[in-house]
Assembly symmetry: C2
Homo-oligomer: 124 residues x 2
């Protein structure tokens, strides 16, 4: 049985098409990591929430949950909102080991990839 889950955490938006890239990342991970449970959750405006997703995973028996914010940068949502949600989750589920990664824009290799994409996409 799987015991470890990865929960992607995106902002959410009113337009349902906004979720497409995040769903595609989730699909790539389902293929690349068949032995792990990978879920997509949102801060607001879309479902499921991070809290509902974690609740479901905990009730299914997951003991290790890695939260990966799919945000470009760390502003109020990652510096204030997410720590509050995570503190509540840790209080509710003391038996679960939670971890959290940094933002997309904190990864030098992703900044390199984005800069290269800008070069390619603007090349006339």
């Amino acid at each position: 049985m799987k015991t470890r889950a990865i929960v992607l955490f995106a902002h959410g938006a009113r337009d349902p098409r906004w979720a497409e890239p995040f769903k595609k990342i989730t699909e790539r991970l389902h293929i690349a990591l068949p032995e792990e449970e990978v879920r997509l959750s949102y801060l607001e405006l879309m479902e499921p929430s991070l809290t509902d997703t974690v609740s479901d995973l905990v009730h299914q028996g997951f003991k290790e949950i890695a939260i990966v914010p799919l945000f470009m940068a760390q502003g109020g949502h990652l510096r204030e909102d997410l720590p509050k949600i995570l503190a509540q989750l840790r209080e509710h589920y003391p038996e679960v080991e939670f971890s959290q990664t940094s933002a997309i824009g904190d990864a030098p290799e992703l900044l390199d990839a984005i800069a290269q994409w800008v070069i390619n996409t603007t090349r006339s």
Copy 2:
């Protein structure tokens, strides 16, 4: 003289640290594209705005301006706000050729890179 400019367009946030990844992407482009003018602008909460940036570039003589939204996905900001700003800019500066790229999450190679980063960063 440079005639072509690339204007990166990010959302903006209250926390000044939020801008760091976007500034790093801009720095990478300054190094990689010394022959192009590369600027960083924001939709809200940070300065300079896209409109002010374009105004400055036009007054400096730039005739081709490529706008690159550094947004993960296309929601209301890219589907509604940006087209309105761009329509106004085209009306104000009919002599300038504007182009606009898609979002980060529309580029399959960036979705691949982000998925790989999730794999690497959650590997225990």
